[in-house]
């Protein structure tokens, strides 16, 4: 039941027009993954009740403000033999203070490790694939690619989304708009991420936003036909050059196949209020907000049902300057500030003060990241799902987690997770905090990030997914996280 229904002007018409053909079919299932580059401190997701539980479970010793999870045992949730499910007020968590009424459609999951990914600076493709990226080459498909390939997610016929996924990111140091560090179609087959807010908007919203954009799609059909004619008849002189031509040809054919769907989606969105073209060179969190607006529009208007949003992922966090919005971090380089995040044994005097100020500023950064994702959730909550009495949020799972465990040079021992929506898919949120026995104390009761991905890629999409990733013998337990979904 929605508390607030504000329809984007013309949006409901556009959306209904685009989706009316599928109203009688299974409603879409959407997935949005936001990854925080170089990791974040899971304390930002810990509600007061969570902290009280942990303190009690640790024999009265509270979780300190500093210290890391995992291999050095500095921080843990204490001895646990089963997951603890807490129902406190999520808005008491530092990053969730502005969650408002969405709290009831949100949950936090703590205690999941993903050691297969390696930790250190970034897990790259490993986060979403539960494999190890070696020298930039992914070890397996990422969950977004797995989901995007499912007919139940991408849709069929007139409900098929023109794009398999929207993948966007932010990298201040990149000399290129496109990166291959986060998503993968399979082992050794990375997928591209658009690191420019303008490029992402142009690709995903541009055709919907103007008659020029729509006209460009029409022109594109002829151009693709021209390319295809040359590629089909092209004889390459070697295997390697043949592979280059084949990849290009496959791209042309894939794009051609869905061009008509894109034109239909764009036409249906005519007259709707869409996000404006973003400006280049904005500070990182503003760029993230721009990306979220683009992704939100893409989801609501049926451009794609899967999205991955990264901020400084895959090692691209080094040069991020968070800017004036975040006080003491302004003018500083993210990599160096991350090094100074945790305490050293001999900290004293002004150094302690500086660390506290730095910590507070990073908490604000992560709160802002979460709220950028929440903005998508609010748009979806305010948009009815055609053919149902639900909102689009009920048919969308949004996930916020780290691309590097719990921070710089992590041991990949703790991947804090925040999730929203997905009620109609069977995801159980309800404002809960689920704490799984952590790596140090959990033993056979410990669970891993791959179990979470198995939940999303299994029962939530009506798939039987026995395993996910390549942890092999280091996987503690098979199967999804039973406490997270409604099996009915």
């Amino acid at each position: 039941m929605m508390n607030r229904r504000h329809f984007l002007m013309g949006a409901s018409v556009g959306i209904l027009a685009a989706r009316s053909a599928s109203a009688a079919a299974t409603p879409p299932r959407r997935f949005v993954f936001m990854l925080s580059g170089n990791g974040f401190d899971g304390r930002v997701l810990m509600s007061q009740q969570m902290l009280q539980f942990a303190q009690a479970n640790r024999g009265g010793v509270p979780i300190s403000d500093l210290g890391r999870w995992g291999e050095d045992g500095a921080v843990s949730y204490g001895p646990m033999t089963a997951p603890q499910i807490l129902s406190g007020d999520l808005t008491t968590a530092p990053a969730l203070v502005n969650l408002g009424n969405l709290s009831s459609k949100s949950c936090v999951v703590l205690g999941l490790s993903s050691r297969i990914t390696g930790g250190s600076h970034a897990a790259s493709h490993g986060v979403l694939s539960s494999t190890r990226t070696i020298a930039g080459s992914p070890g397996g498909p990422t969950l977004d690619a797995v989901l995007a390939a499912l007919p139940l997610v991408r849709g069929t016929g007139d409900a098929r989304t023109p794009l398999a996924a929207m993948r966007v990111g932010y990298d201040p140091d990149a000399a290129t708009t496109i990166a291959y560090t986060t998503c993968a179609a399979g082992a050794g087959r990375p997928l591209a991420t658009l690191n420019s807010t303008l490029a992402a908007w142009t690709a995903f919203v541009g055709p919907l936003a103007s008659s020029d954009g729509l006209a460009q799609l029409a022109d594109r059909a002829d151009v693709l036909a021209l390319a295809r004619s040359q590629l089909v008849s092209h004889v390459a002189p070697s295997r390697k050059t043949g592979a280059q031509i084949l990849q290009y040809r496959t791209a042309v054919e894939d794009m051609t196949q869905d061009l008509e769907r894109f034109r239909a989606v764009a036409a249906a969105a005519r007259g709707a209020t869409l996000p404006a073209k973003p400006l280049a060179g904005r500070p990182p969190l503003d760029a993230l907000r721009d990306h979220c607006k683009t992704v939100s529009a893409g989801l609501r208007f049926g451009v794609s049902n899967v999205a991955v949003i990264g901020v400084g992922v895959g090692g691209a966090f080094h040069g991020i300057d968070y800017g004036a919005e975040f006080g003491v971090l302004a003018g500083k380089q993210n990599h160096d500030e991350r090094h100074n995040y945790n305490s050293q044994g001999n900290d004293a005097g002004s150094v302690i003060v500086q660390r506290q100020q730095r910590r507070a500023a990073f908490f604000e950064v992560w709160r802002a990241e979460v709220e950028a994702l929440v903005s998508i959730a609010r748009d979806l909550e305010a948009t009815p799902e055609p053919g149902t009495s639900d909102s689009m949020l009920d048919h969308t799972v949004l996930v916020y987690t780290s691309d590097n465990g719990d921070g710089h040079h992590s041991g990949a021992s703790e991947f804090p997770v925040f999730m929203m929506g997905g009620g109609a898919l069977g995801l159980r949120t309800g404002g809960r905090t689920l704490v799984y026995p952590d790596l140090m104390n959990g033993g056979t009761n410990h669970r891993q990030l791959s179990n979470l991905w198995q939940t999303l890629g299994g029962p939530l999409v009506s798939q039987k997914l026995d395993l996910f990733g390549a942890e092999g013998g280091t996987r503690v337990a098979a199967g999804p996280l039973a406490d997270l979904y409604d099996p009915s």
Binding site: R68, P141, V223, Q244, Y248, L467, F468
Partner: protein, 876 residues
């Protein structure tokens, strides 16, 4: 899409409950009874569990251990732990099949000895093992079950580390092997220039072609387009209709519309007054032929002509009105850019010999970021492509057989011909090689006069692609975006101790603010003095050009040169009317501006201006914006900064002539004391680009890493597989050397980091540079002690242990080192060929080395491009 589908049987996990008792002697296993099932060394049929264990153990060992620089195929670390090589591992002596307790591999994984623990991890909590118990158990079970291999299809081996190939092998020619036929994908700058855009335009720069999966941007050449990059590519093509590329010379239609005279070619089709029905076949053919020749930079194939001609007809037929003619032609223009022949430049496309057209493109790519097609009628070619005039003439005359092509290469790479570099005369144009786009500045004074910055650059130049190689090889272009806390700390310019004057002092603030120069933040900033990276560009150009010209060794010059291009210092009267003469020290202490010692205008602050003869600092009042930024570019040197370059009217064409005729222009060349600088590795741009954020941070690690990989061609295990805290320990108030010793020295807790795969490879090479701070300033004092650059380098390839006193001695030693010289040539090969070298390239590398014996880089490049292997292609 594949998913891991094998069922994993529910396992009974046995926790490691205690540390193993180490055997007294951890040698390789040679004897001992073998349990049932393991007698035959793994050739009998496998049980499902054994197959599962082989897969899992292989996955773990490969992911954790088989990495570049460590236990890699053909790597320097034994044993090879790649999953594809488990059979060799199981018979290597490091594994006792059936007896995990006696296997050295398990002993290394379970030891509590920090010197021997594998893989390297940080110290665990007391009583905990170094390696995760689950992982040990996995490998233990595989061994106890007989260390079976062959149960599953072996996975493909991980990529070979190029640095694991023995360097001697790479320079020993035994069997000549030609390069393969190649489709060289255009790089971003080439594509932008072909299209007719400007690199500064963000819409054009958003193209996906700069994506490179390798260490150099040229490694993108073997890539193609996937669906996302294709979408981005098409979006950029379409969006480019709406931007202004600056001077009209860069408009897409410039190839047929002369912006200077207004003359429009091919009026039979370009004139919108001509109806579609009036455009004849011959006109259409002519237009398409000219368009393709312009874009392809070679003769189009009949197939390409037919396809584009058909597209043109289609679009003309669909034209709504004559007013749409420009739009129609624009669509046709864009469409050419999806032709594979445009996106990819062919090398040996027909198999066998490289054609003249292909060779023109190849040579163009060696010198320029423009393609061989960047000619506009009536405009002179770019300086590094001027050889194309003679090349095309020879091509038309039919004299370009293989020997003819070699002769062209010899002509191109001869310094005296002025294509690969040289020294520009004093009179304008200034640095036309730096002009990004088409045209000759004589025709575009309006373009040039807005760029007086180029007039302040040194006159020595290198062809853009060669200059780009040095930028990427030495990796210093990023210097402007690296934050530095108190850049002048510990140097002669570090005048204020924060503990005496408060935690935030103005100089530290300005110095920090001055470190980052973002072009575009304020256009006036970049119009006055080139920043560190441009200064090093010019310094390298001078080193290379003068060495080539004087028949000296280029490699040695790069590491011993002391003549640097510097920036002029700011002048207090730079802008007329600003008061000067403040006291930097007193002004920093005084909260209230008092006029005499500080600045009257409270918007200004007293900043260091220059060093007086008595060593004191002369202050000036300035706003802490662009002045501070300019300051940062002039102070890294211990000696007096160069004189001021004053212009009160920094706009207009006159300023260019003033600058070029200004004798102070040459005073920006400073020969620094040999006790202060020696070569590129002692230049502030390199030092800062490879320096930490803090003065006492791990700069030595970063610098040592670069040297190990780029001058010794030895890999250091990547941080991406290391689960370490990796924070510099020690007292944070002490020197970097002290902190590094505390973290990695013999008494350190993190001894695993010091093992041979990691910091032992880096730290000793970086310590000599501790005579400089993190920003490249010469240290005057280092936390109460004289700056100390001494270092014992235990693992210098070919020399063993080498002791140096400082970076100056290290740099000179590198300049004379044959191993480093060969490594440099390998990087030249990598960059210009756009891929890693292999053993099959040994004959090419050997010939490059022979050509480089006299120290001429141009000779080495000629040897590469004129090589038989380059001119004749065969699939390997």
């Amino acid at each position: 899409m594949t998913l891991l589908v094998a069922y994993v049987r529910k396992m009974n996990r046995v926790l490691l409950v205690s540390l193993l008792v180490l055997s007294g002697c951890e040698g390789l296993v040679t004897t001992g009874p073998v349990p049932p099932g393991a007698e035959d060394g793994g050739t009998s049929a496998c049980t499902p569990e054994q197959a599962d264990l082989e897969r899992q153990a292989g996955t773990y060992l490969q992911a954790t251990c088989a990495h570049a620089g460590c236990h890699f195929p053909a790597g320097p670390r034994s044993p090879n732990l790649a999953a594809a090589n488990l059979n060799a591992l199981s018979t290597s002596g490091h594994v006792a099949p059936g007896h995990a307790d006696r296997s050295p591999l398990i002993l290394r994984m379970t030891t509590s000895d920090p010197l021997r623990a594998m893989p390297p991890t940080q110290a665990p909590a007391a009583g905990q093992p170094y390696v995760n118990a689950d992982q040990v158990e996995l490998v233990r079970r595989w061994i106890d079950q007989g260390a079976k291999t062959g149960c599953i299809e072996a996975p493909p081996p991980p990529p070979t580390d190029v640095n694991a190939i023995a360097q001697n092998t790479l320079f020993t020619c035994t069997q000549p092997v030609n390069l393969e036929p190649r489709y060289r994908r255009l790089g971003s700058p080439e594509w932008i220039h072909v299209f007719g855009g400007a690199q500064l335009d963000p819409a054009m720069a958003a193209n996906p072609l700069s994506d490179s999966r390798g260490p150099y941007t040229t490694f993108s050449r073997d890539q193609s387009l996937d669906v996302t990059s294709l979408q981005l590519y098409l979006d950029v093509l379409a969006n480019s209709r709406n931007f202004s590329a600056g001077p009209l010379i860069n408009d897409w239609s410039a190839w047929y519309r002369d912006q200077r005279t207004g003359m429009v070619s091919y009026p039979c089709i370009t004139d919108p007054q001509v109806a579609v029905t009036g455009i004849g076949q011959a006109c259409r053919d002519q237009f398409i032929d000219a368009l393709l020749a312009r874009v392809l930079s070679r003769t189009p194939t009949p197939d390409e002509q037919t396809a584009m001609r058909g597209f043109l007809d289609q679009k003309l037929t669909a034209e709504g009105s004559p007013g749409d003619r420009q739009k129609t032609l624009r669509l046709v223009y864009e469409a050419t850019f999806v032709l594979p022949g445009v996106l990819f430049q062919f090398e040996g496309a027909t198999g066998g010999a490289v054609t003249a057209d292909e060779y023109a493109q190849l040579l163009a790519s060696a010198l320029s970021t423009h393609t061989a097609s960047n000619f506009i009628t009536g405009y002179a070619p770019r300086p590094e492509l001027a050889w194309l005039v003679g090349f095309r003439a020879a091509q038309d005359a039919g004299t370009l057989d293989t020997s003819g092509l070699r002769a062209q290469a010899a002509r191109v790479f001869a310094l005296e011909n002025g294509f690969i570099g040289g020294e520009w005369p004093v009179t304008p144009p200034a640095r036309p090689d730096l002009q990004s786009d088409w045209g000759n500045t004589e025709f575009l004074p309006s373009f040039f006069e807005h760029d007086p910055l180029r007039a302040r650059r040194g006159r020595y130049w290198l062809a853009p692609r060669i200059a780009a190689f040095f930028r990427e090889y030495f990796d210093y272009a990023k210097v402007g975006s690296i934050a530095k806390d108190v850049p002048a700390a510990t140097s002669a310019f570090d005048l204020h101790d924060p503990t005496l004057h408060g935690p935030r002092n103005n100089i530290a603030t300005w110095a920090s603010a001055s470190w980052r120069v973002f072009a575009g933040d304020d256009p006036t900033i970049t119009q006055y003095e080139p920043y560190y990276d441009a200064q090093l560009d010019d310094t390298i150009a001078r080193m290379v050009v003068t060495a080539e010209r004087d028949n000296r060794d280029v490699f040695r010059a790069l590491f011993t040169g002391t003549t640097f291009r510097t920036a002029a210092s700011v002048g207090g009267d730079f802008i007329a009317g600003r008061p000067t003469g403040c006291d930097v020290d007193l002004c920093a202490r005084s909260v209230v501006p008092n006029g005499a010692n500080c600045c009257v205008d409270q918007q200004q602050q007293c900043v260091p201006h220059s060093i007086a003869a008595d060593g004191g600092v002369v202050g000036m009042c300035a706003t802490p914006t662009w002045e501070a930024l300019w300051l940062g570019a002039s102070f890294p040197y211990a000696g007096t900064a160069p004189m001021t370059d004053l212009h009160t009217a920094p706009v207009g064409a006159d300023v260019v002539r003033d600058i070029l005729s200004d004798p102070l222009h040459e005073q920006r060349w400073m020969t620094l004391p040999a006790t202060e600088r020696s070569g590129v590795l002692t230049h502030p741009a390199w030092l800062a680009a490879h320096g930490a954020n803090a003065e006492n941070g791990p700069s030595a690690v970063v610098r040592g890493y670069w040297i190990r990989e780029h001058l010794f061609c030895e890999s250091v295990a990547g941080l991406d597989l290391v689960q370490l805290r990796a924070q510099l320990g020690g007292d944070p108030t002490t020197s970097a050397r002290s902190r590094l010793d505390a973290t990695f020295g013999p008494a350190a807790a993190e001894l695993r980091c010091s093992n041979g795969a990691c910091h032992a490879l880096m730290n000793p090479l970086g310590m000599p540079f501790e005579i400089y701070n993190h920003a490249g300033f010469v240290r005057a004092i280092d936390h109460g002690a004289p700056p100390n650059g001494t270092s014992t380098i235990p693992n210098w390839p070919g020399r063993g242990e080498v002791v140096v006193n400082d970076a100056l001695e290290l740099s000179r030693a590198i300049g004379d080192d044959p191993h480093a010289r060969r490594c440099f040539l390998r990087h030249v090969f990598r960059y210009f060929v756009g891929r890693h070298e292999t053993a099959a390239d040994a004959c090419v590398l050997a010939d490059m080395e022979t050509a480089f014996a006299g120290g001429s880089l141009s000779a080495a490049l000629e040897a590469l491009y004129a090589h038989d292997a380059m001119l004749m292609r065969a699939e390997r």
